[in-house]
């Protein structure tokens, strides 16, 4: 639907300093109806990629292609996209409601729809109490919340969010992730950048990973997890007896009355041995690495 094709972007601080590459031949696709996380450390090139997508800056080479729901080109796509930049700062002397109306009017939303949607989303994001107040009195979290209301007022099919969870308190983060999951379930496209792996893991099914301006991975989170699955199981046994001897054991630790064994591969004899010894199986889980651990592992 929206594809960045072989995009390269270099920056030069001033005329005399050497240029540095912010994006190096990066290609990825934002597919229709997908919830995609855009992952990378600070300075990995995420915001630069988004600025190129919206034509705020030009790439040195490469292009952005639009198709399907997004329309044929950027100008067609803009009416269907809701974009929230990183750390947004809105007109301080407008009220929250005025700003939302402004954004809605620019996308040709009728007044009744604007009022109805603003009320709905403002209540969802718990900012309805401050709609009549000037934005200059808003906290960082409130700015983020009114930003969300303003990008949802035209009921976009595609949401593109740059570090949307920064500046929100833990409750706000949870609420927003719930809303993003809800929007994704409606079949809308959600593409959001973050440097926090767990946030992406909670909301998205796919991930695009950037590392120092280069594409590290693009695909399903589940595939990435199973690809790097260690096949190690963690067996926790509750017994006051001595340590049991188990097959293929790779790690052992005693924690109070819990004996923690890590076993390479699922060995059914081990379970039988534990049960016959009279010990109680407290838990048996596959020990899968987190997305964060895998990202660290696949970095060059």
């Amino acid at each position: 639907m929206i594809s960045l094709c072989n995009v390269t972007k270099t920056f030069r601080k001033d005329f005399w300093s050497p240029s540095f590459t912010a994006l190096d031949n990066v290609s990825f696709t934002i597919g229709e109806g997908e919830a995609i996380g855009f992952l990378g450390a600070n300075g990995a090139g995420k915001t630069t990629a988004l600025k190129i997508l919206f034509d705020f800056i030009k790439p040195n080479s490469g292009k952005v292609e639009f198709s399907g729901t997004a329309g044929k080109n950027l100008s067609e796509a803009l009416g269907r996209i809701g974009y929230l930049p990183e750390r947004p700062y809105f007109y301080p002397h407008l009220t929250g409601a005025e700003f939302v109306h402004y954004m809605g009017e620019l996308t040709d939303v009728s007044k009744s729809d604007r009022v109805q949607r603003m009320q709905y989303w403002a209540e969802r994001f718990k900012i309805d109490h401050a709609l009549g107040r000037m934005i200059r009195g808003y906290s960082k979290g409130m700015l983020q919340r009114i930003g969300f209301v303003s990008i949802l007022v035209h009921n976009p099919d595609i949401l593109i969010l740059d570090e949307p969870l920064s500046g929100l308190d833990p409750i706000g983060r949870k609420e927003l992730k719930d809303v993003l999951r809800e929007i994704a379930k409606l079949g809308k496209t959600v593409f959001f950048s973050s440097h926090i792996v767990s946030d992406i893991e909670e909301v998205c099914k796919k991930v695009v990973v950037l590392e120092k301006g280069a594409l590290l991975y693009e695909g399903d989170i589940e595939s990435l997890l199973s690809e790097h699955d260690s096949k190690v199981y963690e067996l926790k046994i509750r017994t006051f007896a001595e340590k049991l001897k188990l097959e293929n054991e790779v790690f052992y630790e005693k924690l109070y009355d819990l004996h923690i064994h890590r076993i390479d591969g699922f060995v059914s004899e081990n379970v039988a041995r534990v049960l016959s010894s009279g010990a109680e199986i407290y838990s048996l889980n596959p020990l899968r690495p987190s997305l964060e651990q895998i990202i660290y592992k696949i970095r060059p």
């Binding site: 920056f11 630069t48 600025k51 919206f54 705020f56 800056i57 030009k58 100008s75 803009l78 009416g79 996209i81 974009y83 929230l84 930049p85 990183e86 750390r87 947004p88 700062y89 809105f90 007109y91 002397h93 407008l94 005025e98 402004y102 954004m103 009017e105 620019l106 996308t107 040709d108 000037m134 930003g147 303003s150």
Partner: protein
């Protein structure tokens, strides 16, 4: 085309609301008071022409106010949007860059209009109160001052798209002063006798705005009369130069990398 203008008008409306709420209009109240007080003080020290003195002070403060708004508000009108990333919110909607610029500029032009109109009414009232006369040339003076401030606004915006705020303010004020002094400089004997200098000034005359063409205050104060051709010529010059400067600002903004 219709859609682009409609979007520009929406942006202009909200720009006006935003700037209006920033209490810029207090400027009118303060300057209005200053005009009345200064005119009263000056009238005490002059004999026979207190109305003309009131008019002179009033028009001087009106120019100062219009130039101040154009330079100091114009310098951050677009650059602040880029710095604070508000521009990303607007340009990620179906709004072209030219529409955005036009909208922001129209909002400021409306603020300038209200500022000049209110001050014009205050000057008119104070002048009449001090026994002065206000004729059609007064309206022309106000109109041309307005055109001058719009041209300056476009120059400031163009500068702000290629330089930082301090350089923008300094260079805009330099252009403003040059625009007023250029024609006067060409009448100096030393300049007249130097062909090379004269040629250079002729080139500068084309490039820089000729603000002295739009400044008809001396005629209003001392002659109260000017041929219509001159006035229409000044108005046409101001309009064409203003449009040209808007095109320059639009080209710079379209080409600008918003990072």
């Amino acid at each position: 085309m219709y859609n682009s203008v409609a979007k520009a008008l929406i942006i202009a409306r909200y720009t006006f609301i935003e700037v209006y709420k920033s209490k810029i209009m207090f400027n009118v109240l303060i300057l209005g008071l200053a005009i009345a007080v200064l005119s009263f003080i000056a009238a005490e020290f002059t004999y026979g022409v207190p109305g003309r003195v009131a008019l002179d002070i009033g028009l001087g403060l009106l120019s100062l106010s219009a130039v101040g708004i154009s330079v100091f508000m114009g310098a951050t009108l677009i650059s602040k949007e880029i710095e604070q990333r508000t521009v990303y919110m607007t340009l990620s909607r179906p709004v072209g860059r030219v529409s955005f610029l036009l909208g922001r500029v129209l909002g400021m032009v409306l603020i300038l209009l209200i500022n000049i109109l209110l001050l014009g009414i205050i000057i008119c009232s104070v002048t009449i109160m001090f026994g002065g006369e206000v004729g059609p040339l007064f309206v022309w003076t106000i109109l041309l001052s307005y055109i001058e401030s719009i041209i300056l606004l476009f120059i400031v915006i163009s500068c702000s798209l290629v330089a930082n705020t301090i350089i923008t303010v300094i260079s805009s004020l330099t252009i403003y002063a040059t625009g007023h002094a250029l024609i006067e400089t060409m009448t100096f004997t030393t300049v007249k006798s130097n062909a090379l200098l004269m040629k250079l000034l002729k080139i500068l005359e084309v490039v820089f705005p000729n603000f002295s063409k739009l400044n008809i205050k001396p005629y209003l104060l001392y002659e109260q009369n000017l041929p219509h051709d001159f006035l229409w010529n000044a108005l046409s010059y101001g309009t064409v130069y203003g449009l040209m400067m808007f095109v320059v600002a639009a080209i710079l903004f379209v080409k600008k990398s918003l990072d």
